[in-house]
Amino acid sequence: MRVKVLLFAGLREAAGEAELELELPEGATVEELLTALEKERPRLSRLLPLAKVAVNRRVARKGTEIHPGDEVALIPPVGGG
């Protein structure tokens, strides 16, 4: 499946794009997504360990499975206000 991943803040700048697409096996976990992403975008490797992953706008665990149509986003450390 093709999964769209939203990027923000430092991760967006490091990637040079606000969203990207990854090819993943259906039902791949968040952890597998991160591994695939690090392989495809090595320049994100320093920032990825600090980021949380949101699936459908909720922070997900490493083992959460991703399904077609899910909204996936990488959340680097936040700092509103």
């Binding site: 706008r57 936040v78 509103g80």
Partner: protein, 139 residues
Amino acid sequence: MEDLVKITEEPIDLEEVASALSSPELGAILTFVGTVRGIEDGERISYLEYEAYEEMAKEELLAICREIKARWPTVQRVAFVHRIGRVGVGEAAVAIGVSAPHREETFPALAYAVDRLKETVPIWKKQVGEKGARWKPAK
């Protein structure tokens, strides 16, 4: 009236916040405004640039509104307005308010609202100053 949750590129309108929190039963309105400081750790700041994952940020803010009203039941309204994009020194980046019939619960509720905003809501700030630009996580 609903809670006010808004992420906007426009300057924050304090009258809008006050009016969202006002009602004849609510005698106590407490509001926090966070503005951009001109100096950070000795560095002269030019401006901050805020970015949000808007859809998720709004859902998180609405969840915080619900948490607050569950925990401090006299609090009847909550308002979060966060500006995004470039915010100049001295300008408001965020306004957060709560209102209740009496003041007692407004203080802990608002302190909690401010803390939670900084910890869990997907909004980022880039500080641009004389030493360059960098993304600043909440302290």
